[in-house]
Structure formats: C-alpha cells, structure tokens
C-alpha cells in the first residue's frame, strides 16, 4: 500500500460514498437491488474493513473475530430490551462493549504471534461460543437466542419480579411515552429501520467506517502497523514498543466487528450464539483475502461478492437446475443436475472454497491485485500507443 496523496484519497472516498449511496440503483440489474441484501453488503463490509485494519496492516491473522460480532449483537439486543428501540444507544453500547472485550482478548492473545496468535484467537472465540450456550444463558438466552419481547406489565416491573428474557423494560421509551403495539421494531428517532431507511443507516456507517480506515492507514499509527507487518523484530530495535500498537489495532478492529454485529441486530433484533461460530470468523478472513488484504477497498469488495454469491447460489435448487438443463436429453439432464447441484444450494460453500483457492493460487493479493495487473497492462499499452502516435506525428 503506497502513501497515496490527500487528493487521491478524497477522490477515492467521494467515489466510494457515491457508489454506496447509489447502490440500490446500480445493483438492481444484478438482482441485488433490494434493501435486505444491500444491508448485508454494508454490514459485512464494515466487518471486513475492521478485520483488515488488524490483518491487512499488521499481518496478525485473527481467527476469532466473529466473537466480537456476536458480542455486538447481544449488546444491542439488550439495549433494545432495557432502554429503547432507538438504534443509537444500541450502536454506541455495542461498539464500547466489543472494544472492552477486544482489549481483554487482545491483551492475552497478542502475547504470541503468527500461527500461535491465530490459534489463541480461535480458541477464545470458540470458548465464547460455548459459554453463550452454557453458563451465560441468563445473558444470551442459550439456544433460543436473545430477542426483543413485549413490555412487562408496569406493576410487575415496579416489583422487580421480571423475567427479562421474556419481558422487556425499555425504560427510555417508557419515559418518553412511546406507545407499543405488539413487538416493536427498531427505529432512528421514529424512522423505522426496515427497508431502505434501514439500508441507508448502515450505508452511512459504512461510509464513515471506510473514511476512518483511510485515515488510519495513512497516519503515523498506520505506518507503525505496516512496519510491524514488514519486520516486527526490527521495529523493536528501532525503539518502538510494538505491543500497545498491536493491542490498539486489535481493539479498533474489534469495535468495527461490534458495530457490524450491532447492525445485524438493528436489521433483525435477535442475537444467537451461532453468529460467533468459527465458520463466521473464517468467512471474514475469506472476504478480506478475496478482495485483497491490506488494500482499502478490497475487504468491502470481498464482503459484497461473498454475500452476493451466497445469496444467488444458495437460492438455486434442483428444480431451477432442471429447468436450466431442460434442453438436454433426460439422462444427461439428470447427470448435469446432480453435478451442478454439488456447487449450489447448500453446496455453495464448495463453490466458495474453489473460488478462494483459485484466488489465493493465482492472485495472492486478491481481486485488487487482479485489477492492478489489468490497469498496468492498459497503461503500458497506452504508453506504447502514444509513443507510436508521437512518432507518426514526427514523421
């Protein structure tokens, strides 16, 4: 990653913001122009940007980032239950809680580097996952998951004989006299966070998250992180205490994950432990590497692509395939459906795995490296063209 100029960064940021805001229009031809999916792009984009601040800049590969995603979701749902269905307290609280949790885990796991660090983070995330199912059930509601419920009758609330898993308080909403009918949905000062308003709330946060990541990458702090990735040993002999830098990067990326987890709860106020499972941690690694670790846009690109293909491929079932291959004779049709069936529907992870292998083998720098190669080829061609032109002109 080179030190881009300020103007270039501003242009990049403006283009990014423009694309995100116009995404509902731009992605409609691809069949992705609806808020639920767009929201997912934005949320996992934030998750991957944060992950990349740790992995892309310092080279420390965390295999447990889904834990922070899960913590963010739980924290938000608790805010919905206790304070208000307004998303602002939920988002703030989630980011703080995830940050504290990351500080704790980072403090311990960052005593090691390389594969040992990865394994430690994985162990911590799996531990959190298991705890959420067992001893932490009072907080997580175990397998059922934590949900927003109806308000407790006011006399019971006053007597403190609540069962907070099944009855909510929403102190702030009550204080402001918000009337609830049935189970309420999340809102931003009255604007319901479903459909496009929901997407644009996530989109604004994505744009801010992206802008912050540019600032970090270009700052003195970011340069130290890159130096850690490049040669941590040398950095120690250069007078830099690398540990606080790493812990800070870890906490920042944990807070990004907490924000993403919070937004998942904003779109669907329910938190379950499966969000913390190692497959979820692995997914953000794939997103970042697929797009291009250490690049600014790569992680968002990777997140969008994976969520898009997950959506398309996993929706294809045998019936769709049979229709697709209907031009083939029956026997061939069956074989074609059986073979293709392995790659779609539930088998979409196989496609993802293959795609990932191809990228890592041929483009270790991810898709961004691919674009760079293409761009360079064009530039070279242009140059030779223009020299030819000038020659002709000279003649």
């Amino acid at each position: 990653m080179n030190q881009g100029s300020l103007t270039k960064d501003i242009i990049l940021f403006v283009i990014f913001a423009g694309l995100v805001i116009a995404a509902p229009v731009l992605l409609t031809p691809l069949g992705a122009g609806y808020p639920d999916l767009l929201q997912k792009f934005a949320i996992f984009g934030i998750f991957a940007i944060g992950f990349n601040i740790l992995f892309g800049l310092t080279g420390y590969l965390s295999f447990g980032h889904a834990a922070f995603l899960g913590v963010g979701s739980y924290a938000s749902v608790w805010m919905f239950k206790l304070l208000s269905m307004n998303v602002i307290p939920a988002v703030i609280f989630s980011v703080i809680v995830a940050g504290i949790f990351a500080l704790l885990i980072g403090f311990i796991t960052l005593r090691r580097s390389g594969i040992y660090f990865s394994i430690l983070t994985l162990a911590f995330a799996q531990m959190s996952y298991n705890l959420a199912y067992s001893v932490l059930t009072p907080i997580t509601n175990g397998e059922t998951g934590l949900q927003v419920r109806q308000l407790a009758p006011s006399d019971r609330a006053a007597d403190y004989v609540l069962n907070l898993r099944d009855e909510d308080l929403r102190i702030l909403d009550q204080a402001f006299g918000v009337v609830e009918q049935g189970i309420p949905i999340t809102n931003l000062f009255g604007i319901k966070m479903s459909g496009y308003p929901g997407f644009y709330f996530c989109a604004v946060l994505l744009i801010i998250a992206f802008g912050l990541s540019i600032l970090i990458a270009r700052s003195n702090f970011g340069m130290m992180l890159k130096a850690i990735k490049s040669n941590q040993n040398r950095l120690n002999y250069t007078g830099v205490n690398t540990r606080p830098y790493l812990i800070t990067a870890f906490v920042i990326s944990g807070m990004y994950a907490g924000l993403a987890g919070s937004l998942l709860a904003v779109t669907d106020p329910l938190a379950g432990a499966e969000r913390m499972q190692w497959t979820a941690s692995g997914e953000v690694v794939l997103m970042t590497i697929l797009g291009g670790a250490g690049t600014l846009i790569g992680p968002v690109l990777g997140a969008t692509l994976i969520k898009y293909f997950e959506n398309i491929f996993s929706a294809i079932n045998d019936n769709v395939l049979q229709g697709f291959y209907s031009f083939l004779p029956d026997s061939l049709n069956e074989i074609a459906v059986a073979v293709s069936g392995m790659f779609v529907g539930k088998g979409w992870h196989l496609t993802l795995g293959l795609l990932f292998m191809v990228i890592v083998v041929f483009l270790p720098g991810g898709l961004m490296q691919g674009f760079q190669l293409i761009a360079n080829r064009f530039k070279r061609k242009k140059k030779t063209d223009s020299t030819q032109h000038s020659k002709q002109a000279a003649e």
Binding site: N2, Q3, S5, L6, L215, I216, R218, S219, N220, F221, G222, M223, M224, K226, A227, K229, S230, N231, N233, R234, L235, N236, Y237, T238, G239, V240, N241, T242, P244, Y245, T248
Partner: protein, 253 residues
C-alpha cells in the same frame, strides 16, 4: 579521565555448552570509534546482541551511561540512545526507502508509543525533509521511493545505516557495515563514518576489512574464541604477537 559511555562488565554467554563469550570486559569512551575484530565465530555479533537486549547474558552486565541495560527491552535500550546496524541487513522489506527512514525518525521523536491516528504521515514535512536529507547524504537520492526488498545487499546496508543515523544515537553499534559493498561504496561509507565522528557520536564497529578498521578506529579489541585477547591502539594491535597468532591460526584451518 575520559568519560566511559559503554561498560561491559564480566559478561558470560554460552549456547548449549558452547562458550560464545567469556570474561568480557570492555569500556568504550565517549566519542571514540572502537573496533572489534576477530576470526569468524569469535563472538563479536553475540557481544552486540547482549548489548542491545537481543540476548540475555548468563552473568555480568552492560551499563550505558550509568544505566544498566541488562534486562531491559530492546525498544527501551534504543530509546536510551543506542542504535544498531545488523550483520545481515534488517530493514522493512515492504516499505519504501523513505518510509524505512521515517519509522525510526518517528520513534525518536514520539517515543516508544504514540497514538497518532488522525495526522497523515505525509504531513510530517519536517521529519520527511530530514529523512530525505539523510538518504541524499548516503547517496540514495534516486532510490527514495524504491521498495527495500528490491534493493541490493549493499544498498540495504546503506539504508540501515540511514535508519540508525536519523535517530542521532549516542552510541552506534555497527556489525560489518561495509560487507557486501563494492570498493567505491566502502570508501564512501568510511568517509561518512569519519564525518559522523567529527560530530562526536560514539561508535563500536565490527569489521573484517582491515582497511576500514585502520582508517576509522581509535582503539581496537580483538576477540577470539569468546575472549578478548588484546586491546589497544591500532599500532599496538598491528604488532601484537597474540593477534597475529589468532589470525594465522585461522588461516591454517
């Protein structure tokens, strides 16, 4: 009379039975260039490793300017004003030459940790000018934007020298700073090191090239088999029979 900057007191270090350093006593005076010479495997690099906290001595201590370095972390030792150039060039391979020099410059100015997330590195105009100047001094003006991993070994070495010098250390430890350099570059480096000496920086230099040693050193310590076998001015060392023996012994092997 003179001020002793670095004091190595009775240091021992062994690796699984191999005595890499035994009974090492060394005093480096303020402003001097102290050369350490000796055959391969004599323990020269190990001695520097003990000084900068890469290795812990089995016994004995290293004192810099009244502060005991033994037991301190490498970054603390650097912050006290001790910089090192390694035998195999240690740079930041993924960064440009300029950024390679900016990192130690930041560490010198900001200390071992500073949260500076908002200010852009490119706006550090003052530090940047210093770093560019340093690279120009070392004849690397046209390589500032080159990625370090793409540099020749000799250039990496010069880059590492720039990384150390930008910190204006009180004590500079150089482990074979001219190895792998062409004659021309070696002479340029000698000139540069002489220039630094006028500025009063104390240096310990390990070197096999006797031309370099005799052009720079005020005093020389000869290390063989983990022990200091001779110490003195260049003239004294030249005529010391023990030194001749150590080097001849090596040649016979």
């Amino acid at each position: 009379m003179e001020n002793i900057v670095l004091h190595v007191n009775d240091v021992h270090k062994s690796f699984a039975g191999l005595h890499a350093l035994s009974d090492i006593d060394l005093a480096v005076r303020e402003g001097e260039t102290h050369a350490i010479i000796g055959p391969n495997g004599a323990g020269k690099s190990t001695l520097l490793n003990v000084c900068i906290g890469r290795l812990k001595p089995d016994s004995g201590s290293v004192v810099f300017d009244g502060v005991t370095l033994t037991g301190k972390k490498p970054y603390e030792i650097n912050q006290l004003g001790v910089a090192r150039v390694f035998q195999t060039p240690e740079v930041f391979p993924d960064l440009t030459a300029l950024d390679n020099v900016m990192v130690p410059a930041l560490a010198k100015r900001d200390g071992s940790f500073k949260m500076s997330v908002i200010k852009r590195l490119s706006r550090e105009k003052g530090l940047r000018a210093q770093a560019e100047h340093m690279l120009e001094d070392l004849g690397m003006a046209d390589q500032m934007q080159q990625i370090a991993s793409e540099m020749s070994r000799g250039n990496k070495r010069r880059l590492e020298l720039a990384m150390s010098l930008i910190q204006k250390p009180r004590l500079l430890l150089l482990d074979e700073p001219t190895a792998g350099m062409a004659r021309h570059d070696t002479n340029a480096t000698i000139d540069l090191l002489k220039k630094i000496k006028e500025g009063g920086m104390t240096k310990v230099i390990i070197e096999h090239d006797m031309h370099v040693v005799f052009s720079l050193a005020d005093r020389i310590s000869v290390l063989a088999g983990g022990r200091i076998i001779a110490q003195g001015t260049p003239d004294e060392i030249k005529n010391n029979p023990k030194v001749k023996e150590a080097y001849l012994g090596e040649e016979q092997v």
